[in-house]
């Protein structure tokens, strides 16, 4: 279990041997807003997972009873009768069920930490992955020229000092959601976030010292300032605690890119480095062909997402109060199956919101009456809740960002109540 005192102690030893004295620690600590005793603890974090490819909401959280779904997608619909015991839908008791692959997060629904928002999405009807992701990440559906992403604008509204790790994307390139004026960093692997010299740690440390000296003394302000931030950040994250870090007892993340991302986000949360906005991706949701039912490509994606989220939540332990996790996907899929055992691009989908202050154990939103054919263009789950209603709710209640018109220019909708006041 990672322990902050150990960090201070061990890295102090490591650095003094290279000629850097203890007052560096003070600088690094104050740079991150940490002083002994108080910390960036208490700062809240929003973790977003973008499911790229358009998740099939009706496979993830199907309505139960009524048999409408079975008529519309005879081979894909699942029900208690169809699957075997270990493939049966997980009835949530609220008229909806979870796909069995979501077994690991089902308890979170029951403990009322997890909420589903159904029939949520974008008012823009594009079925282009590229455009729809663009619209959702910029928070301006229908407009392509918005340069900043909504999460970057969230950072801009946070209104207090930032550490270099305020906004982190566990990706190799900065996602659209984080484009913008506020600094944000894309890190594929935390252990790569340092000066690396091939052939040895000592060489790397020396090179690091060399660079630090150069950047500290450069007359170019931006390079100088960012250089200092960089080295402070690297020290904050120095290898010694990373290699010692282990997830909480009993927690096992899936060994997938998403699992890795969530594990590292948990690490950052617990490392008190001032993380406020985190971004991860989950791919492979574009199930046009043979998406399967209890098994298959959809089930595999769902299981990865579910196990990752469950592990993350358990790993956070007592830090849960500080974190809200929210998923999103660019649009949903057709209600009817296609001729290849899959589904095609649709419109509305569903998302998950997880947090101790979330009004969980419910399926929020306004689900259509499938029996009356309330479909979008006769083919898709409609959108009855604009995604911005959810995003703005989370931004306000969890992060205290209420400047909705800044976050979502041109939008005049209202927030969907999802979190308790706190």
């Amino acid at each position: 279990m990672w322990d902050r005192r150990a960090f201070l102690k061990s890295s102090g030893v490591a650095l003094v041997s290279f000629g850097l004295g203890p007052d560096f620690l003070h600088r690094a600590a104050s740079a991150s807003g940490v002083s002994s005793g108080t910390s960036t603890r208490g700062k809240r974090t929003l973790v977003t997972i973008f499911q790229r490819g358009a998740m099939d909401a009706l496979a993830a959280v199907p309505p139960v009873g009524g048999g409408e779904l079975a008529k519309l997608r005879p081979r894909l619909a699942m029900n208690a009768a169809r699957g075997s015991a270990d493939g049966a839908l997980l009835d949530l008791g609220v008229g909806f069920a979870l796909h069995p692959a979501f077994a690991d997060v089902a308890p979170l629904f029951r403990s009322r930490e997890l909420a589903v928002v159904h029939a949520v999405g974008s008012p823009d009807a594009t079925r282009s992955h590229f455009d729809a992701q663009d619209y959702m990440e910029t928070g301006t559906p229908g407009r392509k020229g918005t340069s900043s992403g909504w999460l970057n604008r969230v950072c801009g509204e946070l209104g207090h000092d930032a550490t270099p790790f305020r906004a982190v994307a566990m990706t190799s390139a900065l996602p659209r959601s984080l484009y913008g004026e506020e600094p944000a960093v894309a890190i594929a692997r935390l252990e790569d976030f340092r000066v690396r010299m091939p052939g040895g740690e000592r060489g790397a440390a020396l090179a690091g010292k060399g660079f630090e000296a150069l950047y500290a003394e450069t007359t170019e302000e931006l390079l100088g300032g960012t250089g200092k931030e960089t080295f402070d950040a690297v020290k904050l994250l120095s290898e010694s605690e990373l290699s010692r870090y282990r997830p909480a007892a009993g927690v096992r993340y899936p060994t997938s890119p998403l699992g890795e991302s969530l594990r590292q986000i948990a690490q950052l949360v617990k490392a008190d480095v001032g993380l406020e906005v985190a971004f991860a991706e989950s791919g492979g949701w574009d199930t046009h062909v043979a998406q399967g039912t209890a098994q298959g490509s959809f089930a595999r994606r769902a299981e990865d997402l579910s196990r990752g989220i469950a592990a993350f939540w358990a790993d956070l332990g007592e830090r849960k109060d500080e974190v809200v996790l929210m998923t999103m996907t660019e649009f949903g899929r057709t209600v009817r199956e296609n001729g290849s055992g899959g589904t095609d691009h649709g419109h509305g989908s569903c998302l998950f919101v997880l947090g101790t202050a979330v009004d969980g154990g419910k399926v929020h939103g306004d689900f259509p009456d499938l029996a009356r054919g309330e479909l979008y263009e006769g083919r898709d789950l409609p959108v009855t809740t604009d995604f911005r209603s959810v995003f703005s709710e989370v931004a306000e209640k969890h992060l205290g960002v209420s400047a909705t018109s800044e976050l979502f220019p041109g939008w005049r909708g209202s927030r969907l109540p999802l979190l308790r006041e706190s």
């Binding site: 079925r127 594929a188 000066v195 010299m197 040895g200 060399g210 150069l214 791919g283 001729g339 899959g342």
Partner: protein, 717 residues
């Protein structure tokens, strides 16, 4: 001064000698004058001037290049660059292995079909089973399917080999390769710098499925031919290229329901009837082109409409009411010409959009051919109003022919392609456009925040020369601001500039460009993949953040240590076969070579103390037993994690449901074992091999070189 009495050259010279404030804004800089550039007035020597030009109008100096430029003459070098007259040497050899560079759009789509089309072709050829089978019972993917898919892949690969087909990924890789190789090796460096600038100005993204197949020809045919030519022509060629028409959706923009289309206007208007009743382009869309543009399928034949999602035709949205799409119009005004404060209104946006209705392109491949022949037959039968130029198609039956008013100018009713072309005239010659472009060019070549007087003068040149882009460059290098001390060495290099200038500074050979390209992405510049139409911002604070700074430092270290596969260089060449006698001497030599004519004293001062301590030198040389081994590049991974860039769908993490490769799992970062095996080999270049592999530490010399390449000074130009 009476220009008539003096030669143009001396007139210009005397004008330039005057202080900037007295230079009249109406000066037209004559072409080919070779007038002296005002670097002496700014206190620069010839060598300093050459270094500055190479930093700003090229990707940095190669060993010995400053000498060559000085020997040639500063102004002479400038003329050669403006005229793109330099004799290319090694470059041709590097580009020859890339067949797509010379292919027509038609050949490209035939050779590198988009994945959905490829799948369909494979089905039609009977290579794989039809994906749609009514009797197919189970929809569960069972383990046997994985084996089936491998078998399918093998069959498809063999079939593709027989047919001479390659995947789009192989096409994309060629765009990336040529971009880096040109930047490193071209003698006509200014062309490369300008190609990067103007592509970025008219940005499209390779991550867009509809754009990808057209990106190579967009850069080659729409952007590159006009770099120092006429802005108006550049603008039009981007407006008519399928890449832009797809990216900003104009290809499916047609007149709103209720608006008369051109064909109808002609029917009922002043033009004499064609005597064929509704045949000559009535609401049926003209003979030979079946389908109402407003029907699903966008007026393309039913076949084309059905193929909507295959990527071989511009995909209209099924069941969606067809009409006006404002995206291109808005970005044309906001980004390409007038600029966000250019003084246009939302109404102008709509009117411009109306002017461009019907501007679309013929789908590539067989369907496009059918469309072309139908158009031809229709023309012979007397249909008018439709225009084709290469892939570009103007559809009279989709064009809103009612009167319009754009930026206060009336466009009368009943006109066709002339509407859009008139709008291009208007915006290209608008004073706000002159200012907007002047600002962007000044930012690229002079300073992030160019001063107003400079922008005014450049804008005046733009207007006076009717948008001559070569004249703009000439005006820039003729301006005092270009040479002013406060601006020199102050621009932050983009990641591409860091990588290329490092390679040039080392005199490196690029045996395989892909590993180096990967670093450009790691530093925060996914080439061709900036998703917004705004293109990469030209601002220091966009490029400089903690993650990217680390990447720049690590790049310098790895490059200098010879650890980047595909890159070869020889320090002995750099040091002139004379080994430096001490680390400090090495530092001095390397800083002088990599940062010629720049202020290197602070860099040397900072690093020297770290090098002269004996124990430090020993430490660097000492072996560290727990050193993590850097993953070696295996021949199967020519692209390495760059595969993400070459396969943008993978980069986006979305599975483009093509069924060909099965659902795409993102591999764990750094986990080579899960790397998707190359579907086909990229054999343009030898498999990339690093000069040094294994765990031995680099020499002190290499360490110092790495420090200089990662230093703040080297991040600037």
């Amino acid at each position: 001064m009476r220009p008539k009495r003096m030669t143009a050259m001396s007139a210009l010279y005397s004008l330039l000698v005057l202080s900037p404030a007295s230079v009249r804004a109406e000066i037209v800089v004559p072409r080919g004058s070779g007038a002296p550039l005002p670097y002496r007035e700014a206190g620069l020597s010839e060598r300093e001037a050459a270094a500055h030009l190479l930093d700003r109008l090229a990707y940095g100096a190669r060993p010995g290049e400053i000498d060559r430029v000085v020997a040639m003459g500063i102004e002479a070098w400038m003329e050669v660059q403006l005229a793109a007259n330099a004799q290319e040497g090694a470059l041709a050899r590097f580009l020859t292995p890339l067949p797509a560079l010379a292919m027509s759009p038609r050949s490209i789509v035939e050779t590198y079909p988009p994945n959905p089309a490829l799948l369909r072709m494979a089905e039609e050829a009977g290579v794989i089973e039809r994906q749609r089978q009514p009797g197919r019972e189970s929809v569960d993917a069972d383990p046997a399917d994985a084996v089936d898919r491998r078998e399918q892949r093998r069959k498809v690969a063999a079939w593709m080999e027989r047919e001479g087909l390659k995947s789009e990924r192989v096409l994309v890789a060629q765009s990336y390769a040529q971009k880096l190789l040109r930047a490193v090796y071209a003698e006509n460096q200014l062309q490369e710098v300008l190609a990067d600038f103007w592509f970025n100005h008219f940005n499209v993204s390779i991550t867009d499925n509809a754009v990808r197949n057209y990106l190579l020809t967009y850069e080659r045919d729409a952007i590159r031919p006009h770099l120092t030519g006429s802005f108006r022509e550049l603008l039009e060629s981007t407006a008519k290229h399928p890449a832009m028409l797809a990216y900003l959706d104009n290809f499916q923009s047609i007149a709103n329901p209720g608006q008369p289309t051109l064909a109808e206007a002609r029917d009922s208007g002043a033009m004499a009837g064609r005597g064929r009743g509704r045949g000559a382009g009535g609401t049926g869309g003209g003979p030979g082109m079946s389908g109402n543009p407003r029907r699903p399928g966008g007026g393309l034949s039913g076949e084309m409409g059905r193929r909507a999602e295959t990527g071989t035709s511009p995909p209209p949205r099924p069941n969606r009411p067809q009409g006006l799409n404002e995206n291109y119009a808005r970005e044309l005004l906001e980004l390409h010409t007038l600029g966000v404060d250019g003084g246009y209104t939302q109404t102008d946006v709509v009117e411009v959009a109306r002017a461009f209705t019907g501007w679309t392109f013929l789908p590539a491949g067989r369907l496009g051919e059918e469309g072309r022949s139908r158009l031809e037959r229709a023309r012979r039968a007397g249909m008018t109003g439709f225009v084709t130029e290469g892939e570009f198609l103007f559809r009279a039956d989709g064009h809103d022919a009612a009167a319009k008013s754009v930026l206060g100018v009336a466009l009368p009713r009943g006109r066709g392609i002339e509407d859009g072309e008139r709008v291009l005239d208007l915006v290209a010659s608008h004073p706000a456009t002159a200012r907007h472009l002047a600002t962007k060019l000044a930012a690229r070549f002079i300073a992030d925040e160019p001063n107003a007087a400079l922008v005014d003068r450049l804008a005046a040149t733009f207007t006076a020369t009717k948008g001559d882009l070569g004249a703009m460059i000439r005006a820039i290098v003729s301006s005092p601001e270009f040479w002013a001390k406060e601006h020199r060495g102050q621009k932050i290099k983009s990641p591409l500039e860091v990588v290329v200038s490092s390679l040039r500074a080392l005199g490196a050979e690029v045996d395989n460009p892909f590993p180096a390209l990967e670093w450009v992405a790691k530093m925060g510049q996914p080439l061709y993949a900036y998703q917004a139409p705004t293109g990469f911002p030209d601002r220091a604070d966009f490029w400089v953040n903690t993650g990217s700074l680390l990447a720049r430092m690590n790049f310098g270290l790895e490059l200098a240590a010879g650890r980047i596969p595909g890159i070869r260089f020889d320090f002995a060449r750099l040091s002139g076969e004379r080994e430096p006698e001490s680390p400090a001497a090495a530092l001095e030599m390397l800083a002088t070579r990599f940062l010629p004519e720049r202020e290197i004293a602070p860099t040397i001062e900072q690093l020297e103390p770290l090098l002269t301590r004996d124990d430090l030198s020993h430490e660097v040389a000492a072996r560290a037993p727990e050193a993590p081994e850097l993953p070696a590049f295996s021949p199967e991974d020519e692209l390495g994690s760059f595969a993400d860039l070459a396969d943008p769908a993978l980069a986006m993490g979305s599975a483009v449901g093509d069924g060909l490769a099965g659902p795409r799992e993102r591999r764990a970062p750094g986990d080579l074992s899960q790397r998707r095996q190359s579907f086909e080999r990229l054999d343009f270049y030898p498999a990339p091999v690093a000069m040094h592999t294994g765990v031995e530490p680099p020499t002190v010399f290499a360490g110092v070189a790495g420090l200089v390449l990662g230093s703040p000074e080297f991040q600037r130009r």
